[in-house]
């Protein structure tokens, strides 16, 4: 249908709409001051993430290596070095004997093969651009050096989260980041590992997304 015709129909209908009155409330509720880091750890753990605390870049690399080795997976992918909050993570994993695979899906004939190859990747290492203490969720933008698939396709997702990016809630973050949606083609909030309760309300973990998510707070 012609856009103008469609919208004209909507416009005409609106004139006759019976819409009761509304009582507006705040867009961003005022959160009580709380130790957000501890609160985040509690919430993230409650939704099934495994949370680690690191005091230094070295500790982060150690933890990520330990986690990766613990999965028994052979292949990992990581955000580009300039996108991760801590340097040298990927090379540390390579030294530990894992194979690095890049996620780079071309727009041409090589596409199909590149996409199929994603299935080999067992561990995905990313940063995290924000975290919400109330829900235990982390926020990830896609972009150069930051493929979406890194946090989606592997069995295990490891997210490195600088402590100062943890805020009280989604509302608190939205208030200070009103143009979040402009930054890239994809922003995702992740609260725990993939799950479903569709079969008799039994909770199953690891449906189509990662079975496990590790958050390394530094």
């Amino acid at each position: 249908m012609e856009r103008e015709v469609f919208l004209a129909g909507v416009r005409a209908a609106q004139q006759r709409a019976v819409l009761p009155s509304m009582k507006p409330g705040p867009l961003y509720p005022k959160e009580r001051r709380r130790k957000t880091v501890d609160w985040f750890v509690e919430s993230a753990t409650a939704v099934g993430a495994v949370v680690h605390r690191a005091a230094s870049a070295d500790e982060v690399r150690e933890l990520v290596r330990e986690i990766a080795r613990g999965t028994g997976q052979a292949v990992f992918t990581a955000w580009a070095p300039d996108q991760l909050p801590v340097p040298g993570v990927a090379s540390y994993l390579v030294l530990a004997g894992l194979e690095e695979a890049a996620v780079s899906i071309p727009a041409d004939d090589g596409r199909a093969a590149a996409v199929r190859a994603l299935d080999r990747i067992g561990v995905g290492v990313t940063g995290a651009d924000a975290a919400f203490a109330r829900s235990g969720a982390i926020a990830l933008f896609t972009g150069p050096g930051r493929p979406r698939m890194a946090s989606l396709v592997p069995e295990v997702h490891v997210a490195i989260l600088p402590e100062d990016r943890i805020v009280a809630s989604l509302s608190a973050w939205a208030e200070i980041t009103p143009s979040a949606l402009d930054r890239s083609s994809n922003l995702v909030f992740i609260a725990g590992p993939s799950r479903s309760g569709d079969i008799e309300m039994t909770l199953s973990i690891g449906v189509h997304g990662p079975r496990a998510i590790h958050i390394v707070i530094v």
Binding site: M22, P144, A180, A191, T202, H208
Partner: protein, 469 residues
């Protein structure tokens, strides 16, 4: 969607085999408890619901502006926007696109709107394979079944049912262990995700200012559907939109909490156009199909408020009728309280007037709705229209009209009352009637009915006034 008029028949099936309904009840009872706990736990439940209502109603009152803003912003970020007047137009757009692009396999995230337009059938008729990837929808598709709940599509199936279907259709050894069934689905669908030429999803909420789409889910199939295939099509009911990202954050605060009791779904996926030149993955084309299909006719009247619905499922979970009869009795893509308004709203009252009657107007739906939608008001309006259109049973109109006439005349009312009192004593036992005649026999099928008093209150009052009986 074809009119399926046999409400009584579907109800009888539900009464004869209580299995599916009892499983649905099991699910909704659990989810309701979780949602209630989340409501209590979240300190801003009421203010966020007030704000959510304000945002949604404001948007509906200015829908043309926001749709136009959305289209402009979406096109600026590389999204193709198509406005579809009806289901056929919407389906044809996708079918043509798939044909043009040589798509053989489509993976689908959960979308009620695509079920409304029967998109799958349209694609399949054109030789395109369509695979539902939401676990419940996937199993329902394998079973040749239809979803019974907005959020939990196979609430009516047991684990044994699921095991049988998957064993039969996927050729795996039989198991009823949910974890094993899920693992089998993961493996099977992973291959489909990675080879599909097109992904199709619904839209929880669009954001007008940036031309973005928000999708919430727990499984990851929505993310896979919107990331892996080259082409993404988003089907959107025209009312599913909010003005800004800030507005979206308000609605996200209430959506998962109301539906499942989670603070946020596992994945909140926010898409703003196709992949950008410096990005590594994501769809190369994004198409948004904005669907009317009867929504503007609802907007233009006293059912407009129902368009504020964000499809959280809370009203289905709390409804004491839904809980007893399950989703299939409604016979519609949209069951439960919201469905009882939307279904006649979209497809007409004549085939669907049973749905607004299947309610006691208890108001529990409105009480839990994150948008505070006054569903009882609209069910009442639909009942009035049912009467006006001559669709109400004759015996009911006749008896209520007679009653109204008597009730408007004190003498007539008192004398009718005395008559009823005398008749009541016939066929009664110890003050209770075991069998009522005619249309009222439904009562006594399962309950006794009290014998009308020989001395109604007004008579006792008179006697009291005049110094005793």
């Amino acid at each position: 969607m074809e009119a399926r008029v046999d409400f009584k028949g579907r109800l009888q099936r539900s009464l004869d085999d209580r299995g599916p309904a009892s499983k649905v009840e099991f699910m909704v009872t659990r989810v309701t408890a979780n949602a209630e706990a989340a409501r209590q736990d979240y300190p801003f439940t009421d203010v966020m619901r007030d704000r959510s209502r304000a945002i949604r109603l404001h948007t509906l009152a200015n829908l043309d502006i926001y749709l136009e803003e959305f289209a402009e912003a979406a096109e600026a970020n590389g999204t193709a926007v198509f406005f579809a007047g009806d289901a056929d137009e919407a389906n044809r757009y996708v079918v043509d696109l798939a044909a043009r692009e040589g798509v053989e396999l489509v993976v689908k995230g959960k979308s009620m709107v695509t079920e409304e337009t029967e998109l799958n059938a349209a694609l399949q008729r054109d030789g395109v394979e369509v695979v539902e990837t939401d676990l419940g929808e996937f199993i329902a598709q394998l079973a040749g079944d239809t979803p019974s709940h907005i959020i939990g599509p196979i609430a009516h199936l047991s684990r044994q049912d699921c095991g049988r279907v998957m064993s039969e259709k996927l050729g795996i050894p039989y198991t009823d262990d949910p974890d094993q069934l899920v693992a089998a689905a993961r493996e099977h669908l992973r291959e489909r995700f990675l080879t599909a030429g097109m992904g199709i999803t619904g839209c929880n909420l669009a954001v007008a200012e940036t031309g973005s789409i928000a999708l919430v889910e727990n499984e990851g199939n929505g993310r896979m559907t919107t990331t892996s295939p080259r082409i993404l099509v988003v089907f959107m009911g025209m009312e599913r939109i909010v003005p800004t990202f800030g507005d979206l954050s308000v609605l996200l605060n209430v959506l998962a909490r109301s539906g499942t009791g989670q603070s946020l779904s596992v994945y909140t996926n926010l898409l703003t156009g196709p992949r950008r030149p410096d990005e590594h993955d994501g769809p190369e084309q994004v198409h948004v199909v904005v669907l009317d299909n009867g929504r503007s006719s609802m907007l233009g009247g006293d059912l407009a408020e129902i368009l504020g619905c964000i499809r959280c499922g809370a009203c289905l979970n709390i409804c004491p009728v839904y809980r007893q009869v399950g989703g299939h009795v409604y016979g519609s893509v949209y069951p439960g309280p919201v469905g009882s308004v939307v279904t006649p709203g979209l497809w007409g009252l004549a085939p669907w007037h049973d749905l607004p009657q299947a309610s006691t107007l208890c108001g529990a739906c409105q009480e839990v709705c994150p948008i505070r939608i006054d569903i009882p008001r609209m069910l009442l309006r639909l009942r009035e229209r049912t009467v006006d259109q001559g669709l109400a049973p004759a015996w009911l109109g006749w008896s209520l009209r007679g009653f109204a006439k008597a009730a408007s005349s004190p003498r007539r009312f008192a004398s009718r009352e005395r008559l009823v009192a005398r008749l009541g004593r016939l066929g009664s036992r110890d003050g209770w009637i075991r069998r009522l005649p005619g249309p009222a026999r439904g009562w006594t099928a399962s309950r006794d009915f009290p014998v009308p008093s020989r001395r109604p209150f007004r008579q006792r009052w008179e006697e009291r006034d005049h110094g005793g009986a």
